[in-house]
């Protein structure tokens, strides 16, 4: 008999905090018998309910409509196959281990800066997702206005981000932030819906998915035959000959303008950036110093951020259905 386990990730409002994100980078992971495997749904469509509870300015029907739109946005990702099915309104709150996946408003009193969070119930035997629940924090005022509302966070974006988690995507590192006087982080710019910190109230530019989000989903749920269409970059980040753990990698395609990220996930500094359209890429390594490390890794102390950003010394050709020649990026201490 297999057990179930709960996992929580969330998007934060201009700050960090909370959210233990298990061994994740682009994808969430689960430990099954000592092996980390990617969290994903074994069966689709993902069947979900919506809690029949309103929030200030937003009804449960509004929430359901925006959730349906967000699911449709993810379902339209090229080279990926995901599907969902709205099963109806329920009185049940969005909590784990009740046997149904629920999206709803809830009070996240213990996480005052968290806009919304996603919790999972995972089959311990297989690592497959059994249930996912999205709680939208009623501590914030929400907007459903198409053009945005300068006083309220955009509910459409929050749902798009959380449904990315629901499918098994972790946080993206594609963003730049700065520390405010209060010691919190403010987003200057980003290039992924799955970046862990939200734009300020009023911004609606994050309602569409970016190439990094799409690459993650295509890697996790490839459409039939798509493994032969997309390619990857493999390499290693080192400092004085030793591998760097937790370095953030970006692959930039100058022809399309797309940027896709990844991380070094082992002590020898090796990495793979997958879900890439064939083409030429500029690859860059940087320390993960624009976000809370706990938003990405279980053990933040293992992440090495003592190095200066650096570019790969050559352009990288990504073939369809294969990996580039391995590249080495040498970095130096700050």
């Amino acid at each position: 008999m297999t057990g179930w386990r709960g996992i929580v990730v969330g998007i934060v409002a201009a700050c960090l905090a909370l959210a233990a994100d298990p061994r994740a980078y682009l994808k969430l992971g689960a430990d099954v018998d000592g092996t980390v495997i990617a969290l994903k749904w074994a069966d689709q469509p993902v069947r979900y309910f919506v809690t029949n509870r309103d929030a200030p300015n937003v009804t449960a029907v509004d929430l359901q409509r925006l959730a349906t739109d967000a699911f449709a946005t993810w379902a339209a990702v090229p080279h990926a196959t995901v599907s969902s099915d709205f099963a109806g309104f329920v009185d049940a709150p969005p909590v784990s281990a009740d046997g149904v996946s629920v999206i709803g408003f809830a009070s996240l009193a213990g996480a005052p800066f968290t806009l919304a969070s996603t919790s999972f119930t995972v089959d311990d035997g297989t690592g497959a997702l059994r249930e996912a629940d999205i709680a939208v924090n009623t501590s914030f005022d929400w907007s459903t206005v198409p053009g945005g509302d300068a006083a309220h966070y955009d509910l459409g974006f929050a749902l798009l981000h959380e449904i990315g988690h629901l499918y098994g995507l972790g946080h993206s590192g594609l963003g730049e932030t700065e520390l405010t006087a209060e010691g919190r982080r403010r987003v200057l710019a980003k290039d992924a819906v799955m970046f862990p910190i939200a734009f300020p109230p009023g911004a609606v530019s994050d309602r569409t998915l970016d190439p990094d989000d799409e690459a993650g989903l295509a890697d996790l749920y490839p459409a039939t035959g798509e493994r032969r269409v997309l390619g990857s970059i493999a390499g290693r980040v080192t400092r004085d000959g030793a591998g760097i753990f937790g370095a953030h990698l970006t692959a930039f395609n100058p022809s399309t303008g797309s940027i896709v990220g990844s991380f070094t996930l082992s002590d020898d500094g090796t990495f793979v950036i997958s879900g890439l359209e064939p083409g030429l890429y500029v690859v860059r390594a940087e320390p993960l110093d624009d976000e809370d490390l706990a938003s990405f890794f279980d053990d933040a102390s293992a992440v090495d951020i003592d190095f200066r950003p650096a570019f790969a010394p050559r352009l990288v050709a990504v073939p369809a259905g294969g990996s580039s020649a391995r590249i080495d990026i040498k970095v130096t201490r700050k």
Binding site: G175, L188, F252, P254, S255, P278, L280, V316, A317, P319
Partner: protein, 232 residues
């Protein structure tokens, strides 16, 4: 006077007529000694192509207002490169010939990556390519001066560029326009091809597609070809 004619004298008359026709068709443009263009030539040249800009691209993040925040820039060009060309040229008129050519080159894409938002040191990244082209061209003779023949050449064709040991390939179109000169001299060896020519072309070579950085627009570079043509 007799009406009889030997077979031999008839043959001579026919040969004389053909010779007259050839002289008329291949009438020299100058008053100097005529050089009759051969029907078929096979040649090869070394190619040198000049540098070509491939465009500027910016890796941008998006601000809350929807503006771009550049993370870094990549300014790319195709470095000057060398290669080889083989061709077959067939005369179809006194001053016109058609040509089929195939070429291989080994260019490098060179990209200057700088302007990093977080201060990463600028680098110049390179990537070697293999380029194969197949082209059809028309040649029009514009001046004949003794053994020297000047011509205009215009061509168009297909290109394949490959990187990463052939694992990544992109196709494109090529087109070129140029001026060339051939200098002919006779060979004396028996059974050897009739003539040999030194040929030099200067072309303006354009391309669309292929492996690019930045926008997929038509780009042009100078190209010089120098080699030999052998005529049959």
């Amino acid at each position: 006077m007799t009406a009889r004619q030997s077979p031999l004298s008839a043959s001579r008359r026919i040969a004389g007529g053909l010779g007259l026709a050839l002289v008329v068709i291949a009438a020299p443009a100058s008053a100097q000694r005529a050089v009759v263009e051969p029907r078929v030539e096979i040649g090869g040249s070394a190619l040198v192509m000049g540098p070509m800009s491939l465009g500027l691209a910016s890796a941008d993040y998006q601000t809350p207002r929807g503006d771009a925040l550049p993370l870094f820039h990549a300014d790319a060009r195709m470095a000057a490169s060398a290669g080889a060309e083989g061709r077959v040229t067939v005369s179809i008129a006194p001053n016109m010939a058609l040509e089929a050519a195939g070429a291989w080159m080994r260019p490098h894409i060179v990209s200057r990556i700088d302007g990093d938002y977080e201060g990463a040191a600028a680098v110049t990244a390179r990537l070697p390519l293999s380029r194969f082209t197949a082209e059809g061209a028309a040649l029009v003779t514009i001046v004949r001066h003794g053994r020297t023949v000047w011509f205009l050449r215009g061509g168009a064709g297909w290109m394949r560029e490959m990187a990463g040991w052939g694992t990544f390939a992109e196709d494109g179109a090529i087109g070129d326009l140029g001026l060339g000169v051939k200098y002919w001299w006779h060979t004396r060896a028996r059974d050897a091809p009739g003539r040999l020519a030194l040929r030099v072309d200067a072309r303006l070579a354009g391309r669309a597609g292929g492996i690019v950085i930045g926008a997929r627009t038509f780009r042009v570079a100078p190209l010089v070809a120098a080699g030999l043509d052998v005529a049959w």
